[in-house]
Amino acid sequence: MKKTHIVLLVLIVTAIAVLVSEFGNFSTYETFASASKQAGKKIYVIGFLQKDKPMEYDPQKDKDHFIFYATDKAGNMNKVIFNGEKPRDIEKSEQIVMMGYEDAGTFHCSRIQMKCPSKYKKDMVVEGKSS
């Protein structure tokens, strides 16, 4: 066996090992219920803004603190704390993708992506602060 082949083999095995370990790192789409089973792990939840529930946002007090309620695709409602500025037009969103983790019944969210109803409007991503 040639030396090149051995090195190649070692590199490829390492690469495969890295890739396999990556699979564990990849995030997943969850519901609020399944997110609460893996509390603390950062995941995505696809859901909808609960429009009849109050939203709390006071930029004068803390501009990176926005509280709202969302329903996931399974229909469960959950309180969400977004540690970023309140995304403009979130009231008009059709669907929101929230990235964050579940902790004690509250979803701590650090990125929101909104799907907007108008076809002339591009979807919007809002980044919160890392938490």
Binding site: E30, R111, Q113
Partner: protein, 829 residues
């Protein structure tokens, strides 16, 4: 129905040329193919097929240029009856952005790609000599595929082949009632306009360069296929090296221009975010550079031919794949670029094209695989080819990791079907990619520093050890000094720092001492030097990139520097700036001075004037002062989303980078209220608190002794003041105030207000209510002006110029190599 006011001629001409270009490319590909087939059997026929092929291609080029001209005429003359002009341009758009409109849309960017293939094809046609028939057959074939993208032919109600840029608005929106009146053009007076975040000079120059880079991957691809087809593996080497060098330089420039654009004018907060679109352009470059290196190995030693061909073929296929990723909308929710896909038609169309090219490549490779020349003996460990080979494999593996992670939305349905898990993109892409790619940077950095010291086939170990010993030692000293000075504490990045410093030192030393600075031979060492500088620039600017808004110095989200505890601290990197109030920002005091409106138009851009000054902490002398003008834009289509452009102040050793995140008041805020009323508050005992916006006031008690210049004592007065201390949000006392209450002649009540400018706060001592000798309640009226404010994010990027300089040096290295290769070619002729 006869419509009034339409200009149909340019569109008809354009469409005619679209068809012509397609047919001509098809004819050219077929003729070149016939020329190859008859090469041996009938040289005379082969010659005429060759001439047919050439003229076919020339006609194709002329048609493509004409399509370009027709479409540009439509945009430039504001013919809004055409969907493309209506969708991407508007009357108020400055002339320089008309080109940007051209390639904003899907069809236009495919046109740009086609156009560059034409130009490159003409050069190949004149220079490829013995390989012309085969390379041109491939180039023409790819052109056929590309032309189908803009054909816009319908087969039945559901199948559409391509999308023509010359389609009329009334055909796109057939159901809209406006198009039932023949004079509909009277109502369509203006177009939709160019996306504001794209109204930028980068949008004019970046796409052509990037697309030239993408397009030039076709040429090494065509040469490799030609070599396989011919079964002859010598003549293709030189032109392929030359084209790969050109390709590496142009695509590298294009990618970094994208980075510079993102940095200068988009609010990603940096020049690289591992965004799918960025990755999609980086991956072909990595694979191409790997292929270039193994090709050099092949040229000097005869080894690594099969890997070379695979890499160079893959590089072009990956360009198609990246088109698939970024244009079909498959990435959808994962990219900040948020490309809206053209839906299913383009999705399957691109899949078919990729499938055809992939089948062609695989068939050729399988057919020729056993016949590829190989060398049976082993290479020495201390040889250039061995380590170049390893470096190339690592670049390739790195590109595969990026591809796999970027393609999550592509393979996740399959993974869900197998494992039941619904995979999503990494929640922190920076961390995800950096953790792996830092090792690629380390290894390739060290290899690019040391590999030149080795010779092909056989090298003298002692000489190498001595030279590398000296340079690595200097590199180590440099790394320690920088690591110390810049507080780079994570060990992986310390190794990367060493690798970059070693690369810089070793390549300078090699160029000057070993190569005696002979310009023609300097290409590789200059390119490697540039690469090492890029690594150093990335490390310094990103590792210590920090927000100065809200005074967090050195805090960083990128390179997982945060401990778990620090992670718990929710900190903000945005600062609220009231108009006219100076706030500390890092070493600076920042003031939102005012804002100004751009040219009158329906799309107003507001420029915010932010004044920065830095004073000497002791003498209070101003050491530095400058203005930044980040802007914000609210779309006239009633879209409430704020579009912003950052503004950056460049210093030689760092950049201050700012953008506006939230605005209130000023031109853009319709909900602004100017009527402000006083709010009543009652305090009873000292220690009572009154809440105000931005802080609170503590009641210190009533006082008969009034010392205020505004009050002139009158004998009969009962005068009393209420003392308060005003604190800000951070519990810092700002000011003591004492509004005054005066009872004159036992009848008349007078007030003297006190105020705190920084909070726009006015306080009035309204009334005194004596309930008992020990209990007095005081009514305090508080008014706070709703000041205009912006929320600003300010970041400092240290030593980012090292990165830009490194890119320039690296591209220069590519061009030096190309220049000396071409001049050698001329000399041997």
């Amino acid at each position: 129905m006869q419509f009034i006011g339409e200009h149909l001629r340019p569109g008809q001409l354009g469409h005619f040329f679209v068809i012509t270009s397609f047919v001509a490319a098809l004819f050219s590909a077929f003729s070149y193919f016939r020329a190859v087939r008859t090469e041996q059997t009938d040289p005379l026929a082969s010659r005429s097929w060759l001439l047919f092929g050439r003229s076919g291609f020339v006609i194709h080029v002329i048609s493509v240029v004409s399509i370009f001209a027709a479409l540009f005429y439509i945009i430039e003359s504001h013919l809004f009856e055409y969907n493309y002009a209506w969708e991407h341009s508007s009357l108020s758009l400055p002339g320089k952005y008309l080109l940007a409109c051209f390639w904003e849309g899907q069809e236009g960017s495919f046109m740009l790609w086609t156009f560059w293939h034409c130009m490159l094809g003409l050069v190949v046609m004149r220079t490829a000599k013995g390989l012309e028939t085969r390379t041109m057959a491939i180039i023409a074939l790819v052109q056929v595929c590309l032309c189908t993208m803009i054909l816009g032919l319908h087969f039945g109600p559901h199948i559409q082949l391509g999308k023509t840029p010359f389609i009329l608005l009334r055909h796109v929106m057939q159901d809209a009632p406006i198009f039932s009146s023949p004079n509909y053009m009277n109502f369509i007076t203006d177009g939709n306009g160019l996306n504001v975040s794209l109204r930028n000079y980068w949008m004019v120059i970046h796409p052509p360069v990037l697309f030239l880079g993408f397009a030039s991957t076709l040429i090494p691809f065509a040469f490799c296929i030609a070599a396989l087809w011919k079964g002859e593996y010598q003549t293709f080497v030189k032109p392929t090296i030359a084209w790969s060098l050109f390709n590496g330089a142009v695509l590298g420039t294009g990618i970094m221009m994208g980075g510079a654009w993102a940095y200068e004018s988009l609010n990603f907060g940096g020049y690289w975010a591992w965004d799918p679109v960025e990755n999609a352009s980086l991956v072909p470059w990595l694979v191409l550079v790997a292929g270039l290196h193994t090709l050099l190995v092949y040229k000097s030693t005869g080894r690594a031919l099969s890997l070379t061909i695979i890499l160079l073929l893959l590089s072009h296929l990956l360009v198609w794949y990246s088109t698939f990723l970024t244009r079909t909308g498959i990435l959808g929710k994962t990219s900040v670029h948020a490309f809206t896909g053209d839906g299913q038609a383009l999705y399957y169309h691109l899949l078919v094209v990729i499938g055809i090219l992939l089948l062609l490549v695989l068939a050729l490779l399988i057919w020729r695989w056993r016949g590829l020349p190989r060398i049976k003996t082993e290479e020495e460990t201390l040889s250039r080819e061995f380590w170049m080979f390893i470096g190339s494999v690592i670049l390739f593996l790195s590109s595969m990791q990026i591809t796999l992670s970027t393609s999550i939305p592509v393979w996740s349905p399959l993974a869900k079907w197998i494992s039941g898990k619904d995979f999503a993109p990494p929640t922190d892409p920076m961390l995800h990619y950096n953790n792996i790619q830092v090792w690629v940077a380390i290894i390739t950095g060290i290899l690019s520093a040391s590999v030149l010291y080795m010779k092909f086939k056989h090298s003298d170990g002692k000489v190498i050890a001595k030279r590398l010993g000296i340079t690595s030692l200097i590199g180590l000293v440099m790394a320690v000094a920088i690591g110390w000075g810049q507080h780079i504490t994570m060990w992986q990045y310390d190794i990367m720092l060493f690798s970059a410093c070693f690369g810089i030192v070793a390549n300078i030393y090699y160029g000057i001492v070993v190569q005696k600075a002979k310009f023609k031979t300097l290409g590789p060492s200059v390119a490697h030097l540039g690469f090492a500088m890029v690594l150093l620039g990335i490390l310094l600017s990103s590792y210590n990139k920090h927000a100065i808004s809200f005074n967090i110095t050195g805090e960083q989200i990128n390179f997982n520097k945060k401990t778990a505890q620090e992670n718990l601290v929710e900190n903000s990197e945005n600062e609220l700036l009231f108009r006219g109030v100076a706030s500390p920002m890092g070493e600076y005091q920042a003031t939102y001075v005012n804002d100004s409106e751009s040219v009158k138009g329906k799309d107003k851009i507001i420029y915010y004037n932010i004044y920065f000054e830095k004073r000497d902490p002791k003498t209070r002398e101003i050491k530095e002062q400058f203005f930044l003008h980040p802007d914000a834009f609210l779309n006239s289509k009633g879209e409430a989303a704020l579009t912003v452009n950052p503004s950056t102040k460049h210093f030689w050793d760092h950049d201050v980078f700012t953008y506006v995140n939230v605005i209130r008041g000023g031109y853009l805020d319709k909900n602004r209220t100017d009527t402000i009323s006083y709010k009543s508050n009652i305090v009873n005992n000292p220690g009572d608190t009154v809440l105000i916006m931005g802080g609170y006031m503590i009641f210190n008690g009533l006082d008969r002794k009034v010392s205020d210049a505004r009050y002139e004592p009158v004998d009969s007065d009962l005068v009393i003041c209420a003392r308060f201390t005003v604190y800000d949000n951070k519990d810092k006392p700002i000011k003591d105030i004492a509004p005054i209450y005066i009872l004159r002649n036992r009848r008349e009540i007078l007030h003297i207000e006190d105020s705190v400018g920084i909070l726009n706060l006015n306080v009035r001592f309204e009334n005194l209510n004596v309930k008992s000798p020990t209990s007095v309640s005081t009514e305090i009226m508080v008014k706070q002006t709703d000041a205009d404010y912006i929320v600003l994010k300010a970041l400092v990027f240290p030593f980012i110029n090292v990165l830009w300089l490194g890119v320039i040096v690296m591209v220069l290295g590519f061009f030096i190599s190309l220049g000396s290769l071409l001049s050698m070619e001329v000399a041997t002729r």
